[in-house]
Subunit: 342 residues, 4 copies
Amino acid sequence: MIRVGIVGGTGYTGVELLRLLAQHPEVQIVAITSRGDAGTAVSSMFPSLRRRLRLRFEDPASANLKACDVVFFATPNGVAMTQAPDLLAAGVRVIDLAADFRIRNPAEWSQWYGMPHASPEWVEKAVYGLPEQDRAGIRNARLVANPGCYPTAVQLGFMPLLEAGVVDLDYLVADAKSGVSGAGRKAEIPALFAEAADNFKAYAVPGHRHLPEIRQGLSSMAGSPIGLTFVPHLTPLIRGIHATLYARIKQEADFQDLFEKRYQDEPFVDVLPPGSHPDTRSVRAANVCRIAVHRPQGGDVLVVLSVIDNLVKGAAGQAVQNMNIMFGLPETEGLWQLAVFP
Amino acid sequence: MIRVGIVGGTGYTGVELLRLLAQHPEVQIVAITSRGDAGTAVSSMFPSLRRRLRLRFEDPASANLKACDVVFFATPNGVAMTQAPDLLAAGVRVIDLAADFRIRNPAEWSQWYGMPHASPEWVEKAVYGLPEQDRAGIRNARLVANPGCYPTAVQLGFMPLLEAGVVDLDYLVADAKSGVSGAGRKAEIPALFAEAADNFKAYAVPGHRHLPEIRQGLSSMAGSPIGLTFVPHLTPLIRGIHATLYARIKQEADFQDLFEKRYQDEPFVDVLPPGSHPDTRSVRAANVCRIAVHRPQGGDVLVVLSVIDNLVKGAAGQAVQNMNIMFGLPETEGLWQLAVFP
Amino acid sequence: MIRVGIVGGTGYTGVELLRLLAQHPEVQIVAITSRGDAGTAVSSMFPSLRRRLRLRFEDPASANLKACDVVFFATPNGVAMTQAPDLLAAGVRVIDLAADFRIRNPAEWSQWYGMPHASPEWVEKAVYGLPEQDRAGIRNARLVANPGCYPTAVQLGFMPLLEAGVVDLDYLVADAKSGVSGAGRKAEIPALFAEAADNFKAYAVPGHRHLPEIRQGLSSMAGSPIGLTFVPHLTPLIRGIHATLYARIKQEADFQDLFEKRYQDEPFVDVLPPGSHPDTRSVRAANVCRIAVHRPQGGDVLVVLSVIDNLVKGAAGQAVQNMNIMFGLPETEGLWQLAVFP
Amino acid sequence: MIRVGIVGGTGYTGVELLRLLAQHPEVQIVAITSRGDAGTAVSSMFPSLRRRLRLRFEDPASANLKACDVVFFATPNGVAMTQAPDLLAAGVRVIDLAADFRIRNPAEWSQWYGMPHASPEWVEKAVYGLPEQDRAGIRNARLVANPGCYPTAVQLGFMPLLEAGVVDLDYLVADAKSGVSGAGRKAEIPALFAEAADNFKAYAVPGHRHLPEIRQGLSSMAGSPIGLTFVPHLTPLIRGIHATLYARIKQEADFQDLFEKRYQDEPFVDVLPPGSHPDTRSVRAANVCRIAVHRPQGGDVLVVLSVIDNLVKGAAGQAVQNMNIMFGLPETEGLWQLAVFP
C-alpha cells in the first residue's frame, strides 16, 4: 500500500483526488490538510464521500506528511514551491497539481504568476507529468509537475503532428472551451450559476497562464519554437474541456494513421474513427482523452478535436496515473472507471 | 461468473446497466439485444464504453438469452410480460426494470398502462425488488420487478414512519422532482434541451403511473390503505430525484432515531445528521439513497428529504443490487463507486 | 415623467429594475447609487445595457435622491430601514424591494432578520405591495414594502381558496422551488455554477425568512391564523419560482371557477385552463403569475401550481407595478413585455 | 399598420417572430399557418403568448396570405422556394428565414441542401438581408433572404477586416459555438436535454450548410475568393452564438478604430472597448451583435469575438429589422428590447 498525503483538499481537484484515491486498491490515504478546515470531517464538507472516507482535515503544521510515500499538492499556485522542498528533502515524493513547477524558466514563471519563484532548484529537477510524452522521466521523478487542464488537451491533440513535423509551426490555433469547475471552488461572481449558466464567453484572450506552458510543451515536441494563438472560453459545463485545434498542413501524410499509431499503446488516449466528433460527456469522470482528426473539405487545414474531463485527465486522474508510474503499479490501477453517461 | 443478458440496451437505463455490469467483477455480459440496432457495436452508439465493451447489439430473435443465468429487461413497458415467461420457463432468472410486474393487481395495471396484462400468472410469482423491504424474497425470486425511480425515493423516505405507525395515513404528500433522463432516451419535444433547460414544471398531476405503485408499497408498509397526493416535477437535471415528503405526526417519537435504526445495516441508505439537506449530486452515479428528517418549527408536520440517482438506485443500480442478492454475492459487489462530485 | 432613484443597483433585482425602468415610457432614471462602485458606468458592469443607459453609479452620500419622485431600494435587508425615513420625510415616496417593512410585528422581524428594527414607526405606515390584495392601499402609500419572491407565488396561489374559506387552514403545504438568482449576486460557494448546476436540494427547512411573511399574508386572507409548512428548494434555473401548494378541501366548490373569477380583472395573474401545468419559462422575464388548479384523482386534496419570474413579478416587475399604481399610471405601463421563450 | 403573415409558426424562429411582432407598434399579424396544427390557438401551444395573441393556426391552403403586405417564411428549407413565388407574383413582399434564397448559385445550393432548386429565377432577384452590408438593396427588395445565424455572427465579425483588406484571405478560421435552439424545435435524440446538457461537442466539421453562405459573403466583402475553415459546436445554451474568429494580419492598422468606424452608425452592432470579452447573455433576447477585437500578445494574429442571439439578430430579429427597412420604418421599431440579464 502506498501511503498518501494530500495538501489542500477542499477544492475541486482535491475532492476529485479523494474520489479516485479512496477507490484505489493500492492506496492508503494517511492525511489530508486544510488550514481553514482543520478538524472538520472530510465527508461533512463532501457528503458524496460519506461512510467511505473517515478522515478529518488536519492542520498542515501538525500533519505527519513526512511519513507518506507521496504527497499530492492540490493547493493554489505558490504553495507547493514553498512547502514541497522540505518533504522532498525528507525523501517523500511529490506530485504538484498546481503550476509551480511546470515552467522550466523561473523568470517566465514569475512573469505569468506574479510572484518570485521560491524554489528554482526544484524547477530544474521536476519532471513534467504528461505520461504520453515522458513516461520514463516520470518513473524516476522525485517531483512531478502535473500538467494543467488546457495544456493536457491541447498537447495531446497536437503531439502527433508536431513530432512528425507535418504542419506549419508558425500559425497554430487552439480554441479551447472549459467547464466552470476549471475556475476552482472559489466564491467569485463570474463563476456563479446565475452568471455562467446559459452563457458563453471567451476570457483571457490577451494572455492566459496556460499559454507559456502549452508553448513550452509544443516547442519541445516540435524541436523548435512555435507560434500559437490560444483562446480559452467558459462554457456551461460542470466538467469537461474541448480543444479545437487548427494547423496548416506542410507535408502530406495519412493523418488518421499518424494519430492511431502514435497512441496505439496508450491506455488513456483514444483516437476515434475518421469523421467522429468526441463529446465531453464521453469522458465525464473518466481518465481518458478522446481525439478525432478532420481535414475539412480536403483542404490544407487540419482540425483536431480533443476532449478530456478537466478534473480527471486534466488534473486528479493524471496525477494518479503519474503516481502509478512512479510506484511501478499498472498504469490503469484505480483509474478504470467508465465515463458517466448520460 | 454470472452470465448476463440484457434485452433492450439502447435507452438510459440500458446504458447505465452496461456501465455498472462492465465494471462488475463477477459478471460476464453475454448478449445485449436491440431490434433496431442489431449489428451495431455498442460502443459506437455509446462512446463512453469504447475499448471496454466489445459487444454488438444482437437481434432478440437470434440472441442466445437462454444460456444466461439472468436476463435484465431494460425495455419499454409491455415487453417483458410477453418475452420473459419463455426465459423463465427455461430456468433463466429475470429482472425487469420496466413496470410490467410491479403492480400486484393486473386489472389496476391495465388501467394505468393502457393494455391488458399478458402474463398475470407471473405477476403473482414476481417479487418487488426493493431490498430494504424484502431481501429474503428477492434472494429466492425467479422474477424480480425492479421498482420505479419515484417509488424508490418515496418508499424509502416514508418506510420508517409507516412501519412504526407514527403518522397520519390519510394525508401523505410526496412532492417529487426528477431529472430529465427519467423520461427516457426518446425523441420527444418536451424533453429537448431548449424546452427543459432553464425551466421547471409539474406534470401528470391528475395521475402518474407511479402513483399506484407507490400507494401499493406504502399501504403494505402501513398495513392498511393510505391516502397519498403525489406530484412529480421535471427539473433541469440530467440525473437525480429529490422527493420532499410531508406527513402529519400522529404519535410522538424520536424520528431521527427511528430512521437511523431502521437503516443502520443498509449499505445503500444513508441517514444524514439532523438539520441536513441532501443534494442530488451527492448521489450522482452512485447506488445510494440519502435521507434527512425535519420537523420544521417543532410543529406537527414531518418533512423527509430523500434523494437518489434515478438511473442508479432508481433503476440500474438497484437491479444490480437485486442480482447480487439473488446470486448470493456481497450486496455491494460492483456497486461501490463513489458519487461524482462536482 | 416620474423622476426615479435607485439605491443599490448592482444586484440582480437592481439590474432587473434598470432593464424595466429604462424601457418605461413614463420614467426618467435620475440617479442610481452604489457605495462600492461609485463612478463606474452602469453599462460597464452590465453590458446588456450598453448604449441604452448612460448613467454612472453615484455615491449614496452625494446622490440627489431627494429630488426624486420615488426611490427604489434594491439593497440588502437592513439598509432601507435606516435610509428611507429621511427620504420619506422629504416627501419622496419609497418602494423597498428588501424585507425591511414587510413584517408588521417588528419583534418578529428582528427575530428572523437578526437585528433590531431601526424604524418601527414606518413599519406601521408601510403598505404591503401585493396589488392583487390591496390596490387601494398601494395607491396612497408613501412607503411600499414590495413582497418577497416566494411570498408572491405562494400568496397568489392560495388567495382565492383562503378568501373563500374552502380549505382546511391547519395543514397547508407550500413546496417551492426557486432559480439561483433568488440568492442574489453574492459570491458564495453554494451559488457557484459547479455547485448549483445539475443539482437539486431543499434548504432552510427548519425555517426560512419568507415563512413569517407568507404566514402573515395567508392569515390576513383567511381572517384567522393558519398552519403552514413551507419548504424552499434550489433548482438549476437562472430565473423562476414554481410553488406547488397543497390544501385539504373543507367545503366543496367549483375551484377552477373560484380562481378564474377572483383573478378575472387582474392584468398580471393568468389562470390556466383545467388540466394545465404552467412552466416557469412561460413567465421568464415577464411580469406574470400563471396558476393552475388540480384535484388529483377527485380526492380531497387540492394542488395549486403557481409560477412567476422571481426577478419580475417576484421583485422588480412588481415594484414597477406598484409604482404605476402609486402614480396613477395604467398598471401595465412599461410591463407589457412578453415572456422570452424558449 | 403593416399586414403581416407568417408561414410555419410552430418552430423556435416562428415563435420568436411572434414575440417580436406581437409587440411591434406598426404591425398587425393577420395570419399564421401550420399544416399540422391548423385550428389550434397559438397561445395554447405557446403559453408565453397567452392573453396577448388571439390568433389560431390556419391551414396554409385557406389562409388569405395574399392580403398581406409581407409574409415571413419560418419554414424548413425547401418550402419557401415553392410557395413564395405565388405570393410574390401577387405583389406580396416576402422574407424567408430559411436558406432557400441565400446562395446565389442554385447548383451549389442543391449540392448542400440535397434537392433541386424550385425557383432559380427568384434566387437571382432575392436580396441577402444583412442590413449592415446592403441596406439599400433591402429597402427595394421584393424578396429578402434572411441570413443564417452562424453567417450573421461570422460575417459581422470579419466584415471590417475584409473590406479594409488588412488580413490574409487564405487562412481564415471561424470557430463558432451555438445554443441548442439553433437545431430547431424538432424531436431528435441529440437535442434532448439529457444529451446536450453538461456536454460540449463540435459537429459537421467535414462541412456545414452555412459554410457556402459564409464563404459567399466573405468573398463578396473581400472582392476575391477566401479560404475559410468553419467549425460549429453545440454548447449547452438555449440561445446564443459565440463566434471566435482568427485572421493573420497582412497590413498594419488600428484595428479597434477600424471596427468602431465601420459600425459607428449601426444601431444593432456594438463594438466593445479594447480588452473586452462579450458574453452571449449580453445579447439574450435582443437584436444586437456585440464585437470585441484582440491582438493577443501583440502578435500577427487578430482574434475577433462576435456574439448574437441566434433567434434574434440571427433570425427573427434580423427579419423584423429587414421588414422595417423594406417598409420605411425606423430600423429599430419594435426591436428596442433590452437583453435579459441574468
